[in-house]
Symmetry: C2
Subunit: 84 residues, 2 copies
DNA sequence: AAAGTATTTAGACATTTGTCTATATATATA
DNA sequence: TATATATATAGACAAATGTCTAAATACTTT
């Protein structure tokens, strides 16, 4: 998950999906990167559980899965507790 | 910052520093990794602003700087807002 | 059934990353 | 001052990462 968030392109994809669900092609259109590369990024995001994909005809819609981020939020917040 | 958090060793270092400030050597002792490698990890954490180092005699004490994490918390939380 | 569109898979390649050993720098102590 | 200790820097190297082009798969339309 940290790994999935480590790439600027992937973080931008998440920000796009914040607005609304998009197909792989619509996402790829937003970047100056080849479609196979975007496909690869989407695969990594999916493996990390950060996005979910649903096939609809010949399109594949991607959407955010924010529940997974709770874990990360908790981790970061736990670091902010005061020292002994 | 995402980059700094992407490595398991660096995340563990942050968790150690959560308990109390430690010298570079004390940190290195917790890992099966050479001291120069740990020194490199500490440098990356420092560059990311996640830790602060203070020289005390021949020792260098490292401590957490949690303020930087607020930015990241905000980013993650912003993704969790509902869709249009 | 054939051609077109959407997406993924496969394989290659350059860059980045984490690790190491060897060496350098700075401080402390005998 | 010489030696020991703490830490960092330099340079090498294998593994991981992000990108590409070419080809494959799946669906749609004519």
């Amino acid at each position: 998950m940290f790994k999935a968030l480590n790439d600027p392109t992937r973080r931008e994809i998440l920000e796009l999906l914040k607005e609304k669900d998009l197909t792989a092609g619509e996402i790829a259109d937003q970047f100056n990167i080849s479609k196979p590369s975007i496909s690869h990024h989407l695969d990594l995001l999916r493996q990390a559980g950060l996005v979910v994909s649903v096939k609809e005809g010949q399109f594949i819609y991607y959407s955010l899965n924010t529940t997974v981020m709770d874990e990360m939020l908790k981790w970061i917040i736990s670091l902010q507790s005061p020292k002994k």
